[in-house]
Amino acid sequence: MVQEIVHPFSKYLRSAMMPHIWCPGCGNGIVLNCFVQALDELQEDLDKLVVVSGIGCIGRTAGYVNADSFHTTHGRPIAFATGVKLANPELEVVIISGDGDLFAIGGNHFIHAARRNIGLKVVCANNFNYGMTGGQQGPTTPLEALTTTTPYGNIEHPFNLIHLAAASGATYVARWTTLHARRLTQSIKKMLDKEGFCFIEVISPCPEIFGRYNKMRSGLEMMEWFKRASVVDNFSVPSKAEITPEKIVVGEFVNIEKASYEKLLHEKISQINEQKVEW
C-alpha cells in the first residue's frame, strides 16, 4: 500500500524544491501544472528552456521547473530575460511572474519588451493583490476591493492587462482563468510555438489573502466566481476586456505574425558583415 506513487509530471519538477510553498486553493499550482503539461505535450527540450520569474508567490515557479531558471529582483524578470534571449536566441525564455511584479515595479520593462517584440513568453498569474507581502493593493486590484492598504476600498482603476499588452505590440495575447486549465495549456503551447513577444494573463485564485478580505474565503469560491463570470469570446476588442465582478472576458485576443527583435537584429548583423566581405 505504501508504495511510492510517482506523478507523471515529477520529471519536470525539482524534487528538492517540492512541495511548493503555495497556500491551499492557490491557483499558482494550476499555472505550474498547465505549464508542465504544455512542455510535456510539446516534448520541449528542457536543456534549451529558461524559466525566469520575479518577486511574489508565483515568482517561486522558476525554482520549481526542472530547467535553467533564474529568480530575479522585484520587477526585473523581463529585463533580465531580454539579456538571456538576445545573448542566445536558441533558448526558449519563459517568464512566469505576478501582476505586481510585471505591471507595477516592472511595468516599464513589460511595455518596452512588448514594443521591441523580443521573443519572450510571459505568463502573468493575476491574483489581484500582493499576496506574498500580505495582501496589499496592486495594479490589478479591482475598484472598491479591500486589501491591507485599501481598508476603505480601492479607489485606483486597475490595469486591463489585455488591452495594455495588445497596445504595447504583443504578437499573442490571451486571458484564461485557472478553471480554464485546458485552454490555458493550449494557449501556452501556441505561445511557445510563436515568434515574438507573447503574453498570457491567468486569473488565479488567492483565497488566503485576497479572498479572505473580499468574501471569497476558499479557492472553490473563487473558482466558482470564475465559472460564473467568465465568458469565452475569442478575438474580442481588448479595450472592452475589463474585469468586473459580473464579467471576465476570456479567450485569445491577439494572434498576429511580426518579426521578432532578435530576428531583425541578427539579420542586420549578417547584412553588415556581408557588406564587409564585398569591400
Binding site: H180, R182, K227, S230, V232
Partner: protein, 812 residues
C-alpha cells in the same frame, strides 16, 4: 394613388346594375337552402337587374352565363352567392374580367361554408340567413369601386424547410432550374426518414444507395446553400418578399473536418445513436451515419463532458489533426430574403409504447417497423442480421402487426398512414430473402396495395409464404424465460380466436404530424387539418399550395405518403414556386388605403399603426403619402383615423356600413354581427363549415382582411342599429397575417368595453375572439356562447345602446 375625386364619376355616376347568381353547388347548398327562394328574394333587392340560380356557378356554363349577362344586360356589378370567397373569388373575378368588368366589382355571399353546411338540419332559417347574406353582398356590391392592381417584384430565391427526400428533391429541382435555394434542416444531416430505411417498395432497391447521390448533389450544388442543424425562427413579409431568420445551432466542429473519425474514437462518452433508434452506440462527438451530408462531425453538448465554456476533456481536440474542433462556436442567425417557401418538414412515427397491450418497451422482442429497418440494414447496428434484442438470435417465427397507431378511434390516429401495408409486405419479403425458412404472420385490418406495382409485391409476399391474418391481436403476452411472444386475437375472416406464437413481433407503426408543427404553422400562418397535417389551399386543384401565398408543401408535412409520392409532390411544389419566381413579380390586391386629403388633419396616427411603414406624412403637401407596394392591405390605418380621412379600397366605410345596415334591417335584436379577419377567423368559420360543425344560424359574418380594419364606429353602428351582440374575431396575437395589426384591434375593443361600461351597457354584448384557421370548433362554440348572451339581452338594453351610440356614430 387613388383619391376620392378620381372616384367621383363611378361613385354617383350611372346607376349600379347588379346581377345576382345563387349557386346550388349540387346539393351542398341546395341540400339545406332553398336556392330558388333566395334567388327570387335577390331579384327584389335595390339595383338588382337580374338574379339567377344554377347548379354549379363555378362550372364553365356558370361562368359563361355571367359573362354573357354582363355584356347583354350591361351588368356593372356581380354578386355570386355560393362557397367561400377564399375558394372561388379568383374564378369569378376572372370571369368578370373576361367580360370586361373590373374584377373589383364582384362580391360574394358565402352561403355554403357559412350557411348550408353549418345549418344542415334547419332549411327555413338557413334560407333566411342565406337571404340576409345575399342582401349584405348586394348592399356592398352597389358601392363597389373598380380598382387597378399594382405589381411588386419577387425575390428569385427559395427557402426549403426540411431536408428529407421531399426537401432534397424540391431543392434540386429549383436549383437546377437556376434559382438560388436555401435548404434548412433541423438535424445535423439531411436525408430524413428515407436515409434510415433499408429497401424501398415496390422496387426493392437500396434506399440510401439511391438517396446518397442526391444528398451529395445538395452538398455540391452551386445554387444550394445548405443550413443543417438549423431552425426557422422568424418569417416576415409576404408572397415574393419573405424575410426569414434561420438559427444555425453550433456544431462545435468546423467545416475543415475531414470526417476521419479520429475524434469519436477517442471520445470517452457514449450514447445511443438516435439515427439507429438507439439500437447502436455513438459517441458525444459523432456523425449520425456514414453517408451524412454534410459529413462534418458534431458534438452533442448534452453528452459532452465539457460544460459552460470549461473544457475538462480535450481528447477530441488533441486527436483532430485539422484542428477543426471549436468549443467556442456560438449560434448564428442567417437572414434570408426569399420569394417562395417550400415546407417539407415531414412526419413523426407513432409511439406504440402508448398501447400497453402490445408490450412495446416492456417485451424486448417487440420492435417497431422503423427499428426493423435499422436491424435489417447492412449498415445498421447488427450488420443486417435480424436479431432478437433479448438474445441476439435470429428469429424463426416473425409476426407483423398492422395499423399500429392508425385507423383507430382510441389507439392513435383516425387516418390511414398510407405506407405501412406496403412496408410490411416489403419487410416480409426481405426476411424471406435472407432467411427463407422464417415463418411470417401479418395481422391486418385490410391490406391497401393500391399503387403501381404494389399488388404484384403483395402477391409475391403471399407466394413466398407470408401468412396474412385479418384481425389485429387483442394483446401480446411474453414467456418470461424465453422472451418468446404469444399473439392473441380474433381472425375476423375465419371468425375464430387465435393464439399464435412468435419469436419476434414487428409493430407496423403509422405516421403522425411533427410534434413541433405548430411552430412552423405559426411562423408561416398556415392552417392544419383535424389530423394535424398542413392544409393545402384546395385539396383538389391546389394540392401543393398553402392558403398563404408563396408557400408550398412537399412530402409528409401535408399528409402521410411514400417516397414516390413525396418526390412527385416535391417536384410539383418546386414547379409551383418556380412559376411564381419566373413571373418575377406579383400583383398586390388593390385593397390599399384611400385618403381624403381635405379631411386629413396630419395627426400622424395612421403612420404610427401601419405595420409596414407604408404611410408617410408629407408636411409640405399636407397629406399622407401611401406606398402601395409596401402596403400589406390590413386597413388598420383606416380604422385608426379619427377624421374619416382614410378608408380601405374594397373595404370602405360606406361598404361596411351598408353591410351592417343590411343585416340590421330586420330583427337585429336577435342577431350577431361578426367581423372576421380573412386569414384566421373567417377561414376558421369556413373550416367549421367544411367539417360540418353546427352552430346557431343568427350570426352574420362581415369579412375584413384583418381584424385591425374594424373601426370602433362599425361596432357602434351595429349597436346603434339595435343588434344584440357583436363579435370581432382575428388571428391569435403574434399570428397576425399583417405582422401586428391585430394588436390594435385589442386596444380598440378594450376602449369600446370601457365606453360600454361607463354608459351602463352590458359589455358582454361585444365579444373578442382569437381563432386560427384550424379552430373551427372554437369559432362555433363562441357563436353558441353568444347565443346564450343574446337571450340575456332585454329590449331596453338594446334601446339604451341605440341612444348611447347615436351621438358618436352621427357622421354617417
Amino acid at each position: 394613388m387613388a383619391e376620392k375625386k378620381e372616384l367621383e364619376p363611378e361613385r354617383n355616376g350611372e346607376q349600379a346594375r347588379i346581377g345576382v347568381y345563387v349557386c346550388h353547388c349540387g346539393l351542398n347548398i341546395a341540400g339545406s337552402v332553398d336556392c330558388e327562394e333566395v334567388t327570387k328574394f335577390a331579384a327584389t333587392l335595390p339595383q338588382v337587374v337580374l338574379a339567377k340560380d344554377n347548379r354549379y356557378t363555378c362550372s364553365d356554363q356558370g361562368q359563361e352565363l355571367i359573362k354573357n349577362d354582363i355584356k347583354e344586360h350591361k351588368l356593372n356589378r356581380v354578386v355570386v352567392a355560393s362557397c367561400s370567397p377564399r375558394l372561388h373569388e379568383p374564378t369569378f373575378r376572372k370571369a368578370c374580367e373576361e367580360a370586361g368588368l373590373n374584377k373589383y366589382l364582384l362580391e360574394m355571399a358565402n352561403i355554403r361554408e357559412q350557411c348550408s353546411w353549418v345549418h344542415l338540419h334547419d332549411r327555413i332559417t338557413a334560407t333566411e340567413k342565406a337571404k340576409d347574406l345575399v342582401k349584405m353582398a348586394v348592399a356592398k356590391a352597389a358601392l363597389l369601386q373598380p380598382a387597378e392592381e399594382i405589381e411588386v417584384p419577387i425575390t428569385r430565391k427559395a427557402l426549403v424547410i426540411g431536408g428529407g427526400v421531399a426537401g432534397i428533391q424540391a431543392s434540386l429541382d429549383l436549383a437546377d432550374t437556376g434559382y438560388k435555394v436555401y435548404l434548412a434542416e433541423k438535424e445535423p444531416s439531411i436525408g430524413g426518414m428515407m436515409a434510415r430505411i433499408d429497401k424501398t417498395f415496390p422496387t426493392m432497391d437500396c434506399s440510401i444507395c439511391i438517396l446518397a447521390p442526391k444528398m451529395s448533389d445538395i452538398g455540391h450544388h452551386p445554387n444550394i446553400e445548405l443550413l443543417t442543424n438549423s431552425e426557422v425562427v422568424e418569417v416576415k413579409g409576404y408572397i415574393g418578399n419573405f424575410n426569414v431568420k434561420v438559427m444555425k445551432k453550433p456544431r462545435y466542429v468546423k467545416s475543415d473536418c475531414s470526417a476521419c473519425a479520429d475524434c469519436s474514437e477517442v471520445c470517452p462518452v457514449i450514447a445511443p445513436n438516435e439515427f439507429d433508434v438507439g439500437l447502436a452506440i455513438r459517441h458525444a462527438i459523432y456523425t449520425p451515419f456514414a453517408q451524412a451530408v454534410p459529413s462534418t462531425y458534431i458534438i452533442d453538448m448534452n453528452r459532452c463532458l465539457n460544460k459552460d465554456g470549461i473544457i475538462v476533456c480535450d481528447k477530441c481536440i488533441k486527436a483532430c489533426e485539422r484542428q477543426a474542433i471549436d468549443f467556442d462556436m456560438k449560434p448564428e442567425t442567417a437572414e434570408l430574403q426569399v420569394g417562395a417557401i417550400i415546407v417539407a418538414t415531414g412526419a413523426d412515427v407513432f409511439d406504440p409504447s402508448t398501447l400497453p397491450n402490445y408490450g412495446y418497451g416492456k417485451y424486448p422482442n417487440v420492435i417497431t417497423s422503423l427499428e426493423f429497418e435499422r436491424l435489417i440494414n447492412a449498415g445498421g447496428p447488427s450488420g443486417g442480421r435480424l436479431i432478437r434484442p433479448s438474445d441476439m438470435q435470429i428469429p424463426k417465427r416473425v409476426a407483423f402487426i398492422q395499423c399500429v397507431g392508425s385507423r383507430s378511434e382510441k389507439n392513435g390516429r383516425l387516418y390511414c398512414s398510407n405506407v405501412c401495408c406496403m412496408n410490411t409486405i416489403k419487410d416480409s419479403l426481405l426476411i424471406k430473402e435472407h432467411w427463407p425458412e422464417t415463418e411470417i404472420f401479418v395481422f391486418y385490418v385490410d391490406i391497401r396495395a393500391y399503387g403501381k406495382g404494389f399488388e404484384d409485391l403483395y402477391r409475391r409476399a403471399r407466394k413466398e409464404g407470408a401468412v396474412f391474418i385479418r384481425g389485429l391481436p387483442a394483446e401480446i403476452v411474453e414467456d418470461r424465460k424465453t422472451h418468446n411472444l404469444w399473439l392473441i386475437g380474433e381472425d375476423t375472416l375465419q371468425r375464430e380466436l387465435y393464439k399464435i406464437g412468435a419469436d419476434m413481433v414487428i409493430l407496423s407503426i403509422g405516421l403522425e404530424p411533427r410534434k413541433d408543427s405548430e411552430i412552423i404553422q405559426r411562423l408561416l400562418t398556415l392552417s392544419r387539418t383535424q389530423d394535424g397535417f398542413f392544409m393545402e389551399a384546395h385539396p383538389k386543384l391546389r394540392p401543393v399550395d398553402a392558403a398563404t401565398g408563396g408557400i408550398f408543401f412537399a412530402g409528409c408535412a401535408e399528409a402521410p405518403k411514400d417516397i414516390k409520392d413525396s418526390v412527385t409532390q416535391a417536384s410539383a411544389a418546386a414547379a409551383r414556386a418556380g412559376i411564381l419566381m419566373a413571373k418575377g413579380k406579383v400583383t398586390v390586391e388593390a385593397i390599399t388605403p384611400i385618403s381624403y386629403i381635405e379631411q386629413c388633419k396630419l395627426c400622424g396616427l395612421c403612420t404610427k399603426v401601419c405595420p409596414y411603414n407604408a404611410l408617410a406624412l408629407n408636411k409640405e403637401l399636407k397629406r399622407v403619402e401611401i406606398i402601395e407596394a409596401a402596403c400589406g392591405g390590413c386597413g388598420t390605418c383606416a380604422a385608426e383615423c379619427p377624421f374619416g380621412a382614410l378608408t380601405q379600397n374594397h373595404f370602405t366605410d360606406e361598404q361596411i356600413f351598408a353591410q351592417i345596415d343590411a343585416v340590421t334591417e330586420h330583427d337585429a335584436e336577435n342577431k350577431i354581427v361578426a367581423f372576421c379577419c380573412n386569414w384566421c377567423a373567417y377561414a376558421g368559420a369556413d373550416f367549421a363549415g367544411v367539417n360540418r360543425m353546427q352552430y346557431p344560424p343568427n350570426v352574420r359574418i362581415i369579412r375584413t382582411m384583418c381584424s385591425g380594419r374594424v373601426a370602433p364606429k362599425f361596432v357602434e353602428r351595429a349597436f346603434l342599429r339595435g343588434v344584440a351582440t357583436v363579435l370581432v374575431a382575428g388571428c391569435h396575437p403574434g399570428d397576425c397575417h399583417y405582422i401586428n395589426a391585430n394588436h390594435h384591434t385589442q386596444k380598440r375593443i378594450e376602449r369600446l368595453w370601457k365606453k360600454m361600461e361607463q354608459n351602463g351597457l352590458n359589455k358582454e354584448r361585444l365579444q373578442l375572439l382569437w381563432a386560427s384557421a384550424a379552430e373551427g370548433e372554437r369559432f362555433a362554440s363562441k357563436i353558441r356562447e353568444m347565443q346564450t348572451i343574446i337571450e340575456k339581452v332585454p329590449p331596453e338594453e338594446i334601446g339604451k345602446a341605440k341612444k348611447v351610440f347615436e351621438k358618436v356614430s352621427g357622421e354617417n
